[in-house]
Amino acid sequence: MGSTKKQLEQDLAELEHVGTSGRAEALRSYLRLVRELKVRDSENVTVLGEELLRKHRARLGAEELWLTMEQVATAALDCRALPLAASIVTQICEKFPESLRAARMMEMLLEARGKYEDASKLIQKHLEDAPDCQMLLKRQVALEKSQGNVGAAIEALRKYVDVFQTDREAWEELGSLYVQAQMYAQAAACYEEVLLHAPASIAAYVQLADVLYTAGPGPAGANSRAARTHYAAAVELSGGTNARALYGLCAVTAQLGGLRGAADPDGLAAAAAATLVQRYAEEAPAHLLPLAQEMLRAQGLTGKAGKTAASPRK
């Protein structure tokens, strides 16, 4: 994950070395970073967050305290540290008895305990008063998902995105649910929305292209052609560093009916194959290069370009 992961690792390493005096600050800064970057690091957040809340609670201001409480409780639920989670959720609910956000925490606790009926009732009760509460509507989807009802989750999420059409995460979630249900055409439509919201995101191009490629060639190869365009956009934006996009370009060209002629008129896939071979030669252990070459050959992509690009290493 690039720079963000490095930043997190730095913060964690600092926690190892910092003395007792600076520890509270280091813990706070780590937890803040996790909140801001939206990464899933539940085990560390649970252990370190519990330490911060137990030893240094007085040092946190009101806003940060309750943000941290929510964060640690969620992480604890994720790691099934249920006693800790329950104690925090109780405190949150006592502090904010009217809050929907507190209700959401309570619902998540019920859900983690496997009391799906109670959780569903709790959501319904609060939705009667606030029918457009985004947090609870999303929890409804997650609740269905954790029970394995992909169909019901899709249904709930479809109603949600009908109303909140600018929620990028919701479109992404709906896309991944459709992929789980193997409804690739619908999934592609969702990932198209994601791309509309983030037109400079390399990952969004690759996601959409992956789904289109998985869906099969389509009428007259329409899906494959669209996937090829999106993979090419990802390659262009990433300057050829995204291996997944390069692989996708090769695979989708093979899907379009092998190389030589109509499928690769502009030599895109051949260039992608050459780049892949070159990067394997430069970065991977030696025994992987023949495997990659073998695969590309099976896809009909061992052009002269591949050999010339690989040769400089000798």
């Binding site: 997650a142 979630e173 390399i202 990952a203 934006l237 997944r244």
Partner: protein, 108 residues
């Protein structure tokens, strides 16, 4: 440290603006004395303003240093899609078989 030419250009531009303003004021005072009607700013002052604007523009463009191209990679959190969506977090996963043993939090 020697001042940058771009900073000097901005200074000169602002000074030229001030001079032009002063010149317009004195011009109007003179017109009042000679009882003539004010019809517009003299050509020399207009040119001064133009030059001042160009100097300021050039200076502020170059003050920040070399322009660099915008990279699509610069602002990406990596090349993989973010698969963690906290709003849709589900807790029914295999982690449940390995509960983490952390004591509950005492009341404050």
């Amino acid at each position: 440290m020697a001042p940058k030419p771009s900073a000097l250009a901005i200074l000169a531009g602002v000074a030229l603006f001030l001079v032009a303003g002063y010149q317009v004021i004195t011009y109007r005072d003179m017109l009042k004395l000679t009882q003539e009607v004010y019809e517009g700013v003299p050509l020399a002052v207009r040119l001064e303003v133009l030059v001042a604007a160009v100097l300021c523009m050039w200076g502020s463009l170059h003050l920040a240093g070399e322009l660099r191209p915008i990279s699509a990679l610069a602002n990406q959190e990596g090349l993989e899609a973010d698969t963690f969506r906290p709003d849709f977090m589900a807790f029914n996963h295999r982690g449940h078989l390995m509960p983490l043993d952390v004591p509950p939090l005492a009341k404050a």
